[in-house]
Protein backbone atom coordinates (compact mmCIF):
# COMPACT_ATOMS: atom_id res chain seq x y z
CA UNK A 1 0.00 0.00 0.00
CA UNK A 2 2.76 2.36 0.91
CA UNK A 3 4.72 1.66 -2.28
CA UNK A 4 1.91 2.84 -4.58
CA UNK A 5 2.11 6.47 -3.54
CA UNK A 6 5.86 6.90 -3.94
CA UNK A 7 5.91 5.17 -7.33
CA UNK A 8 3.15 7.46 -8.54
CA UNK A 9 4.95 10.48 -7.22
CA UNK A 10 8.39 9.36 -8.40
CA UNK A 11 7.73 9.86 -12.09
CA UNK A 12 6.84 13.54 -11.90
CA UNK A 13 9.77 14.16 -9.55
CA UNK A 14 12.23 12.43 -11.88
CA UNK A 15 10.72 14.21 -14.88
CA UNK A 16 10.99 17.54 -13.08
CA UNK A 17 14.62 16.86 -12.18
CA UNK A 18 15.38 15.89 -15.77
CA UNK A 19 13.69 18.99 -17.10
CA UNK A 20 15.59 21.10 -14.58
CA UNK A 21 18.92 19.60 -15.67
CA UNK A 22 17.98 20.24 -19.31
CA UNK A 23 17.08 23.86 -18.66
CA UNK A 24 19.98 24.50 -16.30
CA UNK A 25 22.92 22.39 -17.50
CA UNK A 26 25.23 24.58 -15.40
CA UNK A 27 23.65 23.26 -12.18
CA UNK A 28 26.75 21.36 -11.10
CA UNK A 29 28.85 24.51 -11.42
CA UNK A 30 26.48 26.07 -8.87
CA UNK A 31 26.98 22.98 -6.68
CA UNK A 32 30.76 23.38 -7.01
CA UNK A 33 30.46 27.03 -6.01
CA UNK A 34 28.33 26.10 -2.98
CA UNK A 35 30.85 23.47 -1.92
CA UNK A 36 33.64 26.05 -2.23
CA UNK A 37 31.77 28.46 0.02
CA UNK A 38 31.29 25.65 2.52
CA UNK A 39 35.02 24.92 2.59
CA UNK A 40 35.84 28.60 3.01
CA UNK A 41 33.24 29.04 5.75
CA UNK A 42 34.83 26.18 7.69
CA UNK A 43 38.23 27.81 7.21
CA UNK A 44 36.83 31.20 8.24
CA UNK A 45 35.27 29.83 11.42
CA UNK A 46 38.54 28.10 12.33
CA UNK A 47 40.35 31.36 11.73
CA UNK A 48 37.94 33.22 14.01
CA UNK A 49 38.40 30.61 16.72
CA UNK A 50 42.17 30.89 16.56
CA UNK A 51 41.98 34.63 16.21
CA UNK A 52 44.77 34.81 13.73
CA UNK A 53 45.65 34.07 10.14
CA UNK A 54 48.08 31.19 10.29
CA UNK A 55 50.28 30.85 7.23
CA UNK A 56 49.72 27.52 5.52
CA UNK A 57 52.01 25.52 3.34
CA UNK A 58 52.35 26.37 -0.34
CA UNK A 59 49.90 23.60 -1.25
CA UNK A 60 47.37 24.71 1.39
CA UNK A 61 47.49 28.31 0.23
CA UNK A 62 47.09 27.25 -3.39
CA UNK A 63 44.13 25.03 -2.48
CA UNK A 64 42.45 27.85 -0.56
CA UNK A 65 43.04 30.18 -3.50
CA UNK A 66 41.33 27.82 -5.91
CA UNK A 67 38.41 27.32 -3.52
CA UNK A 68 38.14 31.09 -3.30
CA UNK A 69 38.12 31.47 -7.08
CA UNK A 70 35.42 28.82 -7.32
CA UNK A 71 33.35 30.48 -4.62
CA UNK A 72 33.69 34.08 -5.69
CA UNK A 73 34.18 34.02 -9.46
CA UNK A 74 32.04 31.11 -10.64
CA UNK A 75 28.74 32.90 -9.88
CA UNK A 76 29.76 35.58 -12.38
CA UNK A 77 30.76 33.01 -15.00
CA UNK A 78 27.63 30.89 -14.97
CA UNK A 79 26.22 32.60 -18.07
CA UNK A 80 29.35 31.59 -20.01
CA UNK A 81 29.22 28.03 -18.66
CA UNK A 82 25.60 27.85 -19.74
CA UNK A 83 26.40 29.36 -23.15
CA UNK A 84 29.05 26.66 -23.62
CA UNK A 85 26.53 23.92 -22.87
CA UNK A 86 23.74 25.37 -25.00
CA UNK A 87 26.15 25.98 -27.88
CA UNK A 88 27.37 22.37 -27.91
CA UNK A 89 25.86 19.20 -29.29
CA UNK A 90 23.68 17.46 -26.71
CA UNK A 91 25.99 14.48 -26.27
CA UNK A 92 28.97 16.64 -25.32
CA UNK A 93 27.35 19.34 -23.21
CA UNK A 94 28.81 18.14 -19.89
CA UNK A 95 32.24 17.61 -21.43
CA UNK A 96 32.13 21.08 -23.00
CA UNK A 97 31.35 22.70 -19.64
CA UNK A 98 34.15 20.76 -17.94
CA UNK A 99 36.60 21.88 -20.63
CA UNK A 100 35.41 25.47 -20.29
CA UNK A 101 36.06 25.35 -16.54
CA UNK A 102 39.53 23.85 -17.03
CA UNK A 103 40.34 26.72 -19.37
CA UNK A 104 38.79 29.22 -16.98
CA UNK A 105 40.75 28.06 -13.95
CA UNK A 106 44.07 27.96 -15.84
CA UNK A 107 44.86 31.72 -15.63
CA UNK A 108 43.61 31.81 -12.04
CA UNK A 109 45.93 28.90 -11.25
CA UNK A 110 48.90 30.86 -12.58
CA UNK A 111 47.97 33.81 -10.37
CA UNK A 112 47.37 31.40 -7.49
CA UNK A 113 50.91 30.04 -7.75
CA UNK A 114 52.26 33.57 -7.37
CA UNK A 115 49.93 34.31 -4.45
CA UNK A 116 50.85 31.07 -2.68
CA UNK A 117 54.52 31.97 -3.10
CA UNK A 118 53.75 35.44 -1.74
CA UNK A 119 52.25 33.89 1.37
CA UNK A 120 55.62 32.39 2.21
CA UNK A 121 56.87 35.93 2.83
CA UNK A 122 56.64 37.04 6.42
CA UNK A 123 55.00 40.40 5.75
CA UNK A 124 52.10 38.98 3.78
CA UNK A 125 50.00 38.08 6.81
CA UNK A 126 48.73 41.31 8.25
CA UNK A 127 45.64 43.34 7.58
CA UNK A 128 47.70 46.29 6.38
CA UNK A 129 48.65 44.53 3.15
CA UNK A 130 45.02 43.55 2.56
CA UNK A 131 43.95 47.15 3.16
CA UNK A 132 46.59 48.47 0.76
CA UNK A 133 45.48 45.95 -1.83
CA UNK A 134 41.86 47.08 -1.50
CA UNK A 135 43.09 50.65 -1.97
CA UNK A 136 44.91 49.46 -5.09
CA UNK A 137 41.66 47.85 -6.26
CA UNK A 138 39.91 51.22 -5.90
CA UNK A 139 42.55 52.75 -8.17
CA UNK A 140 42.42 49.82 -10.60
CA UNK A 141 38.66 50.27 -10.93
CA UNK A 142 39.30 53.71 -12.48
CA UNK A 143 41.46 52.34 -15.31
CA UNK A 144 40.48 51.49 -18.86
CA UNK A 145 42.03 48.04 -18.45
CA UNK A 146 39.48 47.23 -15.77
CA UNK A 147 36.57 48.39 -17.95
CA UNK A 148 37.82 46.41 -20.94
CA UNK A 149 38.25 43.31 -18.83
CA UNK A 150 34.71 43.71 -17.54
CA UNK A 151 33.37 43.95 -21.11
CA UNK A 152 35.43 40.91 -22.15
CA UNK A 153 33.90 38.87 -19.32
CA UNK A 154 30.64 38.92 -21.28
CA UNK A 155 32.01 37.88 -24.65
CA UNK A 156 31.16 34.64 -26.40
CA UNK A 157 33.22 32.38 -28.60
CA UNK A 158 32.29 30.41 -31.74
CA UNK A 159 32.57 26.73 -30.83
CA UNK A 160 33.22 23.99 -33.35
CA UNK A 161 30.49 21.33 -33.11
CA UNK A 162 32.61 18.18 -32.71
CA UNK A 163 36.06 16.64 -32.60
CA UNK A 164 39.30 18.03 -31.20
CA UNK A 165 38.40 21.48 -32.52
CA UNK A 166 35.37 21.51 -30.23
CA UNK A 167 37.60 20.58 -27.26
CA UNK A 168 40.10 23.27 -28.23
CA UNK A 169 37.41 25.92 -28.62
CA UNK A 170 35.85 25.16 -25.22
CA UNK A 171 39.26 25.39 -23.55
CA UNK A 172 40.04 28.66 -25.39
CA UNK A 173 36.66 30.12 -24.53
CA UNK A 174 37.18 29.30 -20.84
CA UNK A 175 40.72 30.68 -20.90
CA UNK A 176 39.57 33.91 -22.59
CA UNK A 177 36.90 34.48 -19.94
CA UNK A 178 39.40 33.51 -17.22
CA UNK A 179 41.97 36.04 -18.44
CA UNK A 180 39.29 38.74 -18.60
CA UNK A 181 38.18 37.92 -15.06
CA UNK A 182 41.78 38.02 -13.81
CA UNK A 183 42.24 41.36 -15.55
CA UNK A 184 39.14 42.70 -13.82
CA UNK A 185 39.25 41.20 -10.38
CA UNK A 186 42.88 40.46 -9.45
CA UNK A 187 43.30 43.24 -6.82
CA UNK A 188 40.15 42.22 -4.95
CA UNK A 189 41.12 38.55 -5.04
CA UNK A 190 44.66 39.32 -3.93
CA UNK A 191 43.30 41.45 -1.09
CA UNK A 192 41.05 38.59 0.00
CA UNK A 193 44.00 36.20 -0.07
CA UNK A 194 46.17 38.59 1.95
CA UNK A 195 43.28 38.94 4.40
CA UNK A 196 43.64 35.21 5.01
CA UNK A 197 40.53 34.42 2.92
CA UNK A 198 38.59 36.24 5.63
CA UNK A 199 34.83 36.10 5.36
CA UNK A 200 34.44 39.89 5.63
CA UNK A 201 36.83 40.52 2.74
CA UNK A 202 35.31 37.80 0.56
CA UNK A 203 31.67 38.63 1.27
CA UNK A 204 32.37 42.35 0.82
CA UNK A 205 34.19 41.87 -2.48
CA UNK A 206 31.49 39.52 -3.70
CA UNK A 207 28.77 42.04 -2.85
CA UNK A 208 30.66 44.75 -4.76
CA UNK A 209 31.04 42.48 -7.77
CA UNK A 210 27.29 41.80 -7.72
CA UNK A 211 26.60 45.53 -7.62
CA UNK A 212 28.97 46.04 -10.56
CA UNK A 213 27.84 43.18 -12.78
CA UNK A 214 24.22 42.55 -11.90
CA UNK A 215 22.95 46.11 -11.96
CA UNK A 216 21.13 47.28 -15.05
CA UNK A 217 23.25 50.43 -14.97
CA UNK A 218 26.91 50.30 -13.92
CA UNK A 219 27.44 51.49 -10.35
CA UNK A 220 31.10 52.54 -10.34
CA UNK A 221 30.68 55.03 -7.49
CA UNK A 222 29.08 52.47 -5.20
CA UNK A 223 31.79 49.94 -6.00
CA UNK A 224 34.47 52.58 -5.40
CA UNK A 225 32.91 53.57 -2.08
CA UNK A 226 32.60 49.95 -0.99
CA UNK A 227 36.17 49.12 -1.97
CA UNK A 228 37.50 52.17 -0.12
CA UNK A 229 35.46 51.18 2.93
CA UNK A 230 37.09 47.73 2.86
CA UNK A 231 40.51 49.36 2.45
CA UNK A 232 39.93 51.67 5.40
CA UNK A 233 38.57 48.84 7.52
CA UNK A 234 41.56 46.62 6.97
CA UNK A 235 44.07 49.46 7.30
CA UNK A 236 42.38 50.42 10.55
CA UNK A 237 42.46 46.87 11.85
CA UNK A 238 46.04 46.33 10.83
CA UNK A 239 47.79 49.59 11.36
CA UNK A 240 45.91 52.60 12.52
CA UNK A 241 44.09 50.96 15.40
CA UNK A 242 47.28 49.79 17.19
CA UNK A 243 48.84 53.21 16.77
CA UNK A 244 45.83 54.90 18.32
CA UNK A 245 45.66 52.21 20.99
CA UNK A 246 49.23 52.99 21.97
CA UNK A 247 48.46 56.68 22.05
CA UNK A 248 45.36 56.24 24.22
CA UNK A 249 46.35 53.38 26.51
CA UNK A 250 47.74 54.63 29.81
CA UNK A 251 49.65 51.40 30.38
CA UNK A 252 51.43 51.68 27.07
CA UNK A 253 51.78 55.41 26.79
CA UNK A 254 55.39 56.33 26.30
CA UNK A 255 57.18 58.59 28.71
CA UNK A 256 57.94 62.03 27.33
CA UNK A 257 61.63 61.22 27.38
CA UNK A 258 61.26 57.93 25.51
CA UNK A 259 60.62 56.84 21.96
CA UNK A 260 58.31 53.86 21.70
CA UNK A 261 58.14 51.69 18.63
CA UNK A 262 55.69 48.88 17.88
CA UNK A 263 57.86 46.01 16.61
CA UNK A 264 55.29 43.24 16.24
CA UNK A 265 51.68 42.36 16.93
CA UNK A 266 49.20 39.58 16.34
CA UNK A 267 46.80 39.99 13.44
CA UNK A 268 43.73 39.53 15.64
CA UNK A 269 42.31 38.08 18.83
CA UNK A 270 42.88 34.46 19.83
CA UNK A 271 41.99 32.11 22.65
CA UNK A 272 44.01 30.45 25.41
CA UNK A 273 42.61 27.09 26.45
CA UNK A 274 45.75 25.21 27.39
CA UNK A 275 49.24 25.30 25.94
CA UNK A 276 49.09 27.78 23.05
CA UNK A 277 51.76 28.92 20.62
CA UNK A 278 51.61 32.02 18.47
CA UNK A 279 54.04 33.57 16.02
CA UNK A 280 54.93 37.25 16.05
CA UNK A 281 56.40 38.61 12.82
CA UNK A 282 58.74 41.50 13.48
CA UNK A 283 58.38 44.61 11.41
CA UNK A 284 61.12 46.43 9.59
CA UNK A 285 63.50 47.61 10.90
CA UNK A 286 64.28 44.39 12.72
CA UNK A 287 65.50 45.14 16.22
CA UNK A 288 69.10 44.07 16.63
CA UNK A 289 70.62 42.22 19.56
CA UNK A 290 72.37 45.11 21.14
CA UNK A 291 70.08 47.82 19.88
CA UNK A 292 70.58 51.45 20.67
CA UNK A 293 71.89 52.30 24.08
CA UNK A 294 69.15 52.15 26.67
CA UNK A 295 66.78 50.13 24.52
CA UNK A 296 64.18 48.12 26.42
CA UNK A 297 61.89 45.45 25.05
CA UNK A 298 58.36 44.76 26.31
CA UNK A 299 55.90 42.02 25.54
CA UNK A 300 52.30 43.12 26.09
CA UNK A 301 49.41 40.69 26.43
CA UNK A 302 46.39 42.93 25.99
CA UNK A 303 42.64 42.90 26.57
CA UNK A 304 42.36 39.42 28.09
CA UNK A 305 38.78 38.49 28.94
CA UNK A 306 37.06 35.42 30.34
CA UNK A 307 33.78 34.55 32.03
CA UNK A 308 35.46 32.06 34.38
CA UNK A 309 38.53 32.03 36.59
CA UNK A 310 41.68 31.02 34.84
CA UNK A 311 44.97 29.69 36.16
CA UNK A 312 48.08 31.84 35.63
CA UNK A 313 50.02 31.31 32.43
CA UNK A 314 53.78 31.13 32.03
CA UNK A 315 55.07 32.82 28.91
CA UNK A 316 58.06 31.46 27.00
CA UNK A 317 59.83 32.78 23.93
CA UNK A 318 61.23 30.83 21.02
CA UNK A 319 60.81 27.35 22.48
CA UNK A 320 61.88 24.86 19.78
CA UNK A 321 58.90 23.33 18.00
CA UNK A 322 57.87 20.01 19.51
CA UNK A 323 59.63 20.54 22.83
CA UNK A 324 58.07 21.10 26.23
CA UNK A 325 58.42 24.77 27.26
CA UNK A 326 58.73 23.75 30.91
CA UNK A 327 62.08 22.14 30.05
CA UNK A 328 63.43 25.51 28.95
CA UNK A 329 63.42 27.77 32.03
CA UNK A 330 66.06 29.92 30.33
CA UNK A 331 63.40 30.93 27.77
CA UNK A 332 60.76 31.95 30.30
CA UNK A 333 59.65 35.55 29.79
CA UNK A 334 57.43 35.84 32.84
CA UNK A 335 54.07 35.02 34.40
CA UNK A 336 50.64 36.32 33.46
CA UNK A 337 48.81 36.07 36.77
CA UNK A 338 45.23 36.53 35.50
CA UNK A 339 44.39 38.19 38.81
CA UNK A 340 41.19 40.24 38.42
CA UNK A 341 40.43 38.68 35.05
CA UNK A 342 36.69 38.08 35.54
CA UNK A 343 35.79 41.56 36.90
CA UNK A 344 37.83 43.14 34.11
CA UNK A 345 35.83 41.11 31.61
CA UNK A 346 32.50 42.63 32.58
CA UNK A 347 31.12 45.47 30.49
CA UNK A 348 30.60 48.69 32.42
CA UNK A 349 27.34 50.22 31.24
CA UNK A 350 27.57 51.07 27.59
CA UNK A 351 31.34 50.60 27.58
CA UNK A 352 32.82 47.33 26.44
CA UNK A 353 34.75 45.22 28.94
CA UNK A 354 38.27 46.67 29.24
CA UNK A 355 39.82 43.28 29.85
CA UNK A 356 43.10 42.60 31.57
CA UNK A 357 46.46 43.67 30.15
CA UNK A 358 49.86 42.47 31.30
CA UNK A 359 53.26 43.84 30.43
CA UNK A 360 56.42 41.72 30.61
CA UNK A 361 59.87 43.25 30.22
CA UNK A 362 61.97 40.88 28.13
CA UNK A 363 64.96 43.12 27.40
CA UNK A 364 67.55 40.66 28.68
CA UNK A 365 65.90 37.53 27.25
CA UNK A 366 65.38 39.22 23.90
CA UNK A 367 69.05 40.26 23.74
CA UNK A 368 70.09 36.67 24.50
CA UNK A 369 67.82 35.27 21.78
CA UNK A 370 69.08 37.80 19.25
CA UNK A 371 72.72 37.14 20.16
CA UNK A 372 72.20 33.38 19.84
CA UNK A 373 70.97 33.87 16.29
CA UNK A 374 73.73 36.30 15.41
CA UNK A 375 71.20 38.82 14.25
CA UNK A 376 67.82 40.17 15.19
CA UNK A 377 65.18 37.43 14.78
CA UNK A 378 62.66 37.87 11.99
CA UNK A 379 59.92 36.28 14.05
CA UNK A 380 59.28 35.38 17.63
CA UNK A 381 57.42 32.29 18.82
CA UNK A 382 55.45 32.98 22.00
CA UNK A 383 54.23 30.03 24.09
CA UNK A 384 51.59 30.25 26.81
CA UNK A 385 51.64 27.42 29.35
CA UNK A 386 48.99 27.19 32.09
CA UNK A 387 50.43 26.78 35.58
CA UNK A 388 47.65 24.27 36.44
CA UNK A 389 45.07 22.35 34.41
CA UNK A 390 42.64 24.84 32.86
CA UNK A 391 39.47 22.78 33.48
CA UNK A 392 37.75 24.20 30.42
CA UNK A 393 38.50 27.85 31.19
CA UNK A 394 39.07 29.83 28.02
CA UNK A 395 40.73 33.22 27.97
CA UNK A 396 40.25 35.48 24.99
CA UNK A 397 43.33 37.59 24.21
CA UNK A 398 42.76 40.75 22.22
CA UNK A 399 46.33 41.18 21.08
CA UNK A 400 49.94 40.37 21.84
CA UNK A 401 52.41 43.09 20.93
CA UNK A 402 56.12 43.70 21.17
CA UNK A 403 57.36 47.22 21.93
CA UNK A 404 60.81 48.73 21.93
CA UNK A 405 61.55 51.84 23.95
CA UNK A 406 64.68 53.92 23.97
CA UNK A 407 65.62 57.34 25.30
CA UNK A 408 64.58 60.19 23.05
CA UNK A 409 67.54 61.70 21.17
Amino acid sequence: MSSAVPSAARKPVLASLRLFSWRHPEWWSVALCTLAWGMLLVHGVQQLQHGSHPAGTFAEELRRWLWMVAAMMLPFTLHSVRATAVGSLWARRQRAMAEFLVGYFAPWLVVGLAVAALHALAWAHTSIEAGLCFALAALWQQTSLYARGLAECHRNWPLAPAGWKADRDCLRFGAAIGVACVQTSWPWMLACALAGHGLVAMAGSMALAFVERRSFWPRPRRVLAGTLALACGYLWAGGLAPVLFVACSPTLQANPGEVTELAAETAGAFSLAGITHIELTLRVPTPSAAGPAGQRVFLNIERMTSGTLSPPYDVYLDVPIGEDPARHPELRAGLVSMYGLVPASRAAGADAAPGLSEKLEITELYARLAAARGNGPASLRVSFVPARPVDGATVRVGRVSLYLTRPAP
Binding site: W22, V86, L89, W90, R148, R155, N156, P158, A160, K165
Partner: protein
Protein backbone atom coordinates in the same frame (compact mmCIF):
# COMPACT_ATOMS: atom_id res chain seq x y z
CA UNK B 1 14.44 23.20 -24.48
CA UNK B 2 16.28 23.93 -27.76
CA UNK B 3 18.93 21.46 -28.88
CA UNK B 4 21.87 22.18 -31.17
CA UNK B 5 21.83 19.84 -34.17
CA UNK B 6 24.26 21.58 -36.50
CA UNK B 7 26.98 24.20 -36.49
CA UNK B 8 29.56 25.53 -38.91
CA UNK B 9 33.00 24.09 -38.15
CA UNK B 10 34.94 27.37 -38.29
CA UNK B 11 34.47 31.13 -38.73
CA UNK B 12 34.00 32.25 -42.34
CA UNK B 13 33.78 35.40 -44.43
CA UNK B 14 30.92 36.74 -46.52
CA UNK B 15 32.75 38.50 -49.29
CA UNK B 16 30.21 41.13 -50.31
CA UNK B 17 28.55 38.99 -52.95
CA UNK B 18 26.42 35.88 -52.66
CA UNK B 19 28.02 33.32 -50.31
CA UNK B 20 26.95 29.75 -49.65
CA UNK B 21 27.97 27.46 -46.81
CA UNK B 22 27.10 23.85 -45.96
CA UNK B 23 25.91 22.90 -42.51
CA UNK B 24 26.15 19.31 -41.33
CA UNK B 25 22.94 18.38 -39.50
CA UNK B 26 22.91 15.62 -36.90
CA UNK B 27 19.98 13.71 -35.48
CA UNK B 28 18.88 15.13 -32.13
CA UNK B 29 19.68 12.97 -29.10
CA UNK B 30 18.34 15.18 -26.32
CA UNK B 31 14.97 16.83 -25.67
CA UNK B 32 14.36 17.38 -29.41
CA UNK B 33 14.62 13.63 -30.07
CA UNK B 34 11.34 11.86 -30.75
CA UNK B 35 11.41 8.31 -29.45
CA UNK B 36 9.00 6.89 -32.00
CA UNK B 37 10.73 8.46 -35.02
CA UNK B 38 13.70 6.80 -36.66
CA UNK B 39 16.05 8.71 -38.89
CA UNK B 40 16.51 12.41 -39.40
CA UNK B 41 14.51 12.33 -42.66
CA UNK B 42 11.30 11.41 -40.78
CA UNK B 43 11.78 13.89 -38.01
CA UNK B 44 8.92 16.35 -37.65
CA UNK B 45 10.03 19.67 -36.17
CA UNK B 46 8.23 21.51 -33.44
CA UNK B 47 10.30 24.67 -33.87
CA UNK B 48 13.50 25.26 -35.83
CA UNK B 49 15.90 28.16 -35.43
CA UNK B 50 18.84 29.31 -37.52
CA UNK B 51 21.34 31.49 -35.63
CA UNK B 52 24.04 33.59 -37.25
CA UNK B 53 26.53 34.46 -34.50
CA UNK B 54 29.44 36.88 -34.08
CA UNK B 55 28.84 38.92 -37.25
CA UNK B 56 31.52 41.62 -37.39
CA UNK B 57 32.71 44.26 -39.84
CA UNK B 58 34.57 47.55 -39.77
CA UNK B 59 32.10 49.11 -42.24
CA UNK B 60 28.38 49.66 -42.26
CA UNK B 61 26.52 47.12 -44.33
CA UNK B 62 23.15 46.85 -46.05
CA UNK B 63 20.95 43.95 -44.88
CA UNK B 64 21.65 40.44 -46.12
CA UNK B 65 19.00 37.97 -47.21
CA UNK B 66 19.29 34.34 -46.14
CA UNK B 67 18.09 31.45 -48.33
CA UNK B 68 18.13 27.69 -47.67
CA UNK B 69 18.92 24.82 -50.05
CA UNK B 70 18.97 26.90 -53.23
CA UNK B 71 19.44 24.45 -56.17
CA UNK B 72 23.05 24.48 -57.39
CA UNK B 73 23.75 26.97 -60.18
CA UNK B 74 20.58 28.98 -59.61
CA UNK B 75 20.22 32.50 -58.22
CA UNK B 76 18.76 32.63 -54.70
CA UNK B 77 16.69 35.70 -55.56
CA UNK B 78 14.71 33.54 -58.00
CA UNK B 79 13.52 31.34 -55.13
CA UNK B 80 11.48 33.47 -52.76
CA UNK B 81 9.94 30.25 -51.39
CA UNK B 82 13.39 29.41 -49.94
CA UNK B 83 13.84 32.77 -48.24
CA UNK B 84 14.59 32.22 -44.53
CA UNK B 85 14.79 35.85 -43.43
CA UNK B 86 16.84 39.05 -43.39
CA UNK B 87 19.87 40.05 -41.37
CA UNK B 88 19.30 43.72 -40.53
CA UNK B 89 22.89 44.38 -39.36
CA UNK B 90 21.83 47.53 -37.52
CA UNK B 91 24.64 48.59 -35.15
CA UNK B 92 27.16 46.30 -36.82
CA UNK B 93 30.20 48.59 -36.60
CA UNK B 94 29.56 49.55 -32.97
CA UNK B 95 29.11 45.89 -32.00
CA UNK B 96 32.36 44.99 -33.77
CA UNK B 97 34.50 47.53 -31.92
CA UNK B 98 36.08 46.48 -28.62
CA UNK B 99 36.02 49.31 -26.09
CA UNK B 100 35.31 49.95 -22.43
CA UNK B 101 31.65 49.04 -22.84
CA UNK B 102 31.65 46.18 -25.34
CA UNK B 103 33.91 43.25 -26.13
CA UNK B 104 33.35 43.70 -29.87
CA UNK B 105 32.17 40.16 -30.52
CA UNK B 106 29.60 41.40 -33.04
CA UNK B 107 25.93 40.88 -33.76
CA UNK B 108 23.79 37.83 -33.11
CA UNK B 109 20.81 37.21 -35.39
CA UNK B 110 18.18 34.53 -35.02
CA UNK B 111 15.78 33.42 -37.76
CA UNK B 112 12.85 31.12 -37.02
CA UNK B 113 12.52 28.69 -39.94
CA UNK B 114 9.89 26.39 -38.45
CA UNK B 115 7.57 26.66 -41.48
CA UNK B 116 10.31 26.68 -44.13
CA UNK B 117 12.30 23.71 -42.83
CA UNK B 118 9.64 20.96 -43.42
CA UNK B 119 8.99 22.44 -46.86
CA UNK B 120 12.59 21.73 -47.81
CA UNK B 121 11.97 18.00 -47.28
CA UNK B 122 9.64 17.76 -50.30
CA UNK B 123 12.34 19.07 -52.66
CA UNK B 124 14.01 16.60 -54.96
CA UNK B 125 17.58 17.18 -53.74
CA UNK B 126 16.67 17.02 -50.03
CA UNK B 127 19.47 15.69 -47.87
CA UNK B 128 18.43 15.68 -44.21
CA UNK B 129 22.08 15.66 -43.10
CA UNK B 130 23.10 18.74 -45.09
CA UNK B 131 21.72 22.26 -45.13
CA UNK B 132 22.94 24.79 -47.70
CA UNK B 133 22.71 28.38 -46.52
CA UNK B 134 23.05 31.29 -48.96
CA UNK B 135 23.78 34.87 -47.88
CA UNK B 136 22.83 37.50 -50.45
CA UNK B 137 23.37 41.25 -49.98
CA UNK B 138 20.23 43.31 -50.53
CA UNK B 139 22.32 45.99 -52.29
CA UNK B 140 25.49 45.59 -54.36
CA UNK B 141 28.79 46.85 -52.94
CA UNK B 142 28.24 45.54 -49.43
CA UNK B 143 31.40 45.25 -47.33
CA UNK B 144 33.03 42.04 -46.26
CA UNK B 145 31.52 40.47 -43.12
CA UNK B 146 33.08 37.98 -40.74
CA UNK B 147 30.75 35.37 -39.26
CA UNK B 148 31.85 33.41 -36.21
CA UNK B 149 29.37 30.58 -36.47
CA UNK B 150 26.04 29.50 -37.93
CA UNK B 151 23.98 27.12 -35.80
CA UNK B 152 20.77 25.17 -36.26
CA UNK B 153 18.55 24.40 -33.26
CA UNK B 154 15.58 22.04 -33.00
CA UNK B 155 13.11 22.58 -30.23
Amino acid sequence: VPELVGASAAPFTISGGSTEINLEVRAPTGPAAQGDVEGLANWLPRRVFLNIENITSNERSAPYEVYLNVPPGERPEEHPELHAGSLALFGLVAASRADDRDSGHGLYEQLEITTLYPALAVMSDWDPEQLRISFVPSRPGSPMLQVGRVTLYFA
